[in-house]
Symmetry: D2
Subunit: 276 residues, 4 copies
């Protein structure tokens, strides 16, 4: 009933029926363990980043996320610490041992991001920035590819095919909500996409319930659902003081809420034969 | 952040902060136990219905669903056994003891449906059929109200308010997928809606992963996610021979798959402190 | 490239390649003349209705619209004068000679609407209320069928097929905006639907720029576009004092603006070989 | 009712209430004359381009469009002649005198595009490629900015603000259809956006009915509607042999159909006090 999509030569499931494992530092994404990636939307300063990093680590997260280059709707919003943010991420990686995932918005950011990060994120707004995809395809760094706001599943997989066709097949797909008519939530998290992506492709699939809902108290609930539906990991925004966050405060969890969420996710993962 | 909606005088959460329990026959919807409603899309004949009813009962379902009046896009499609279908449902209820939920599409169906069913379903296409909502509001039968294909959460709750304002507050809300640009799935199941509906309203909320996805093998996975996100119940289509079903075969589970799904759902429900 | 849709047995273009003309009173919809239907969203009282009716008539409108039964999202909004509204419409028809189009929301309204109106409107929310469509199919009154908020063009045409299969082929289709992610406008007016509907079906097609935009000052501009794209008519809300309207004031034109719009539409209609 | 959007410091209407005129070569966009930009989706070879260029010029088009760098969903589709395509465009400009508009997909294309083109196009998929927008903001070349597939009007205007905040205010906005649930058309052309954009911003606004519909025979009809609604120009795909086009053949007009469209558009433009 679900036809395989022609021309997914490299990322199609039949290429690797057993599924792929993508290694980020020493963390395996795509195996039995559900991987938690967490951290602030934007890197703001070293104290903020250090506090969040240790907090998420002690709660069980294994990869630190943090934005240095920030895509923002208005040119007058805070747009990230940029190079300085990358240095702070590298510093905190040294301190905590957590591998880093951070976004590159342009081919010209790639060198700097590669120098400091363990995984490079391609954001929703750039899912069809094909020259960026091709350049990332030439790297040896794992890629976190987020679904575009109005990308069909087929278009999403072809974006991954662009990366793979450049030679880099270390790709993790991320469902992060699509744009619909509903306005209470920032986006509509499309959890059906997770098993469909896994059926059509051998790549690991994670879920971002923070952007997917835009509402912090929904995050732990949709995280549970994402684990239950079979996601290989989660990407969650955490901030020590969400009300003062320079971006996305509304959807960020405080560290204590994050730790509580991790506790709640363990039995859900076990219930479906996985761990977190 | 999520403002309560003014004018939800009867179904708003503040009216009943502890939440409502709706009784369907002797089954409580809205309590600790996640309620499984299952059965064929359309009632086709007595043998089909009997076989499915016993199968779902033995697997743990407690309410039998089955369509007698069928809304169909084309006037030339099978449109249900109508009155005869209601009689068959009543017969099988007597045999199995399972309470019945079935759809009424028009005010003129109400008398017949009331005579035979334990719960009356208002389908997606009729979510804003206000005269039907008002008439149902005058009944004493519990109501299963399905979200419209492009209804916002606010419009959905106001449809429930219509029913309640007629005097009938025995209402269960059902998220069943919304219409988006994605075409692989029949609809996009909006699981974020479940906790939002429960925050804004005291009514129980269930999920229909069959219509929500349109693809049978996704149903057990999205059912797991629905339980994990906090749904009070599930509505699932089951057919002994989906390839020969007169409607919705693509999204119907065979009885053995249904039983397997029930087994898988138990530990997920337990993981969040509920049972099924 | 645009395949004809199978099973549109009665409303498909091949059934009547030259196109249909639907007569409403003595007005022909579907001919060379673009027909203007105008009037208040809701009938509020006799003075309001009379003033608007004479104003639109003197500006060149040939059919009076006015809601007696009003579908409203909240049960606590003004829901129309109902039977009394029908009587007022009939009175004003006698005075002005304008044929009347008004909505029926339920099969039980049909008798009263038939007694007073020249054309029966099926609203967007009821486009898939199949029992209503079937009953309307048994009448001899012309039908104005509005596209559902999230109805595909195919579903819209099948709704017309429902009416036609009952024996009534006096149907005018109305594009009135679809639901999308854009929030500045109430709906997104889909003008591409007009020529597609006319290609796939022989029925006349009109456009409602009032509901299609929800913003009064956009109405004359989108009305021009609708005429230019080939619509056979327009349905426009007019109110003497939009700020005090009991419904849809934001999208209603004052009579002077309506008259100005009519003047502007004449050369546009001429430019494409029609008149208004 | 339509609130001005804060922080549109440079492109907001209040900054220049009389509206902007953008000059492309010696063509003024935003004045009384509706500007026609036309040409092939992709530049394929010099003969193809020359034939189309002379054909559209003789029919009244004043700017030649043609893609050298082509964003394509699949990496295995034809992706344009790239640098060679730019050279061909420059050659044909010399021959015909038509100014050229062509797309840049990456900051690294900018130098080459600037060397050959009169106007630089930012495509839908790159509407929120902020580093590209910023770089284009530093150029002195006029910019054709296309609305993203699921961009709100507000997001679209902020993308223009990005360009303007870099110092380049020679921006023309292009409505080209948004993604909705309707599948017969490739996109849903949102003509309401034209007057709203013109109300909120002083920038000229054009319409692309080729991408907006995806169906060639709809193009002339929607072009008429776009002129009627007040667009300052049109962007139309023309190909001598659409069945053999390397991209977008379905939505390309043959030169004779294009010429016929131009004739039909003249009286529509006159009807609203403009010319083409």
């Amino acid at each position: 009933m679900l036809k395989s999509i022609p021309d997914l030569r490299l990322v199609g499931r039949d290429r690797k029926p057993e599924g792929s494992i993508v290694r980020v530092g020493d963390v395996a994404v795509g195996g039995r363990r559900v991987v938690m990636m967490a951290g602030p939307c934007s890197v703001e300063n070293v104290d903020q980043l250090r506090a969040v990093a240790w907090a998420i680590k002690s709660a069980g997260a294994t990869i630190l996320r943090g934005g240095a280059f920030k895509p923002r709707t208005s040119p007058y919003s805070f747009r990230g610490l940029r190079e300085e943010g990358l240095h702070l991420l590298a510093d905190i990686r040294r301190e905590t041992g957590l591998p880093i995932v951070t976004e590159a918005m342009d081919t010209r950011h790639l060198e700097a991001v590669c120098a400091h990060a363990d995984m490079i994120q391609i954001g929703s707004r750039n899912m069809q920035n094909y020259t960026l995809l091709e350049e990332v395809g030439r790297l040896r760094l794992p890629v976190l590819l987020k679904r575009g706001l109005s990308a069909t599943i087929e278009e999403f997989l072809f974006a991954a095919e662009y990366v793979a066709s450049g030679g880099n097949d270390q790709i993790v797909l991320c469902e992060r909500g699509i744009r619909t008519f509903e306005t209470i939530t920032r986006n509509t998290l499309d959890l059906s996409a997770v098993p469909i992506l896994k059926k059509l492709s051998h790549l690991p699939v994670i879920v971002d319930p923070s952007h997917g809902t835009g509402i912090w108290w929904l995050v732990p609930l949709l995280a549970r659902a994402a684990v239950a539906v079979g996601a290989d990991g989660l990407l969650v925004e955490v901030h020590a003081d969400p009300d003062k966050a320079l971006s996305d405060g509304n959807q960020s969890l405080r560290p204590d809420k994050f730790a509580a969420m991790m506790s709640e996710l363990k039995p859900v993962a076990q219930a479906i034969g996985r761990e977190i």
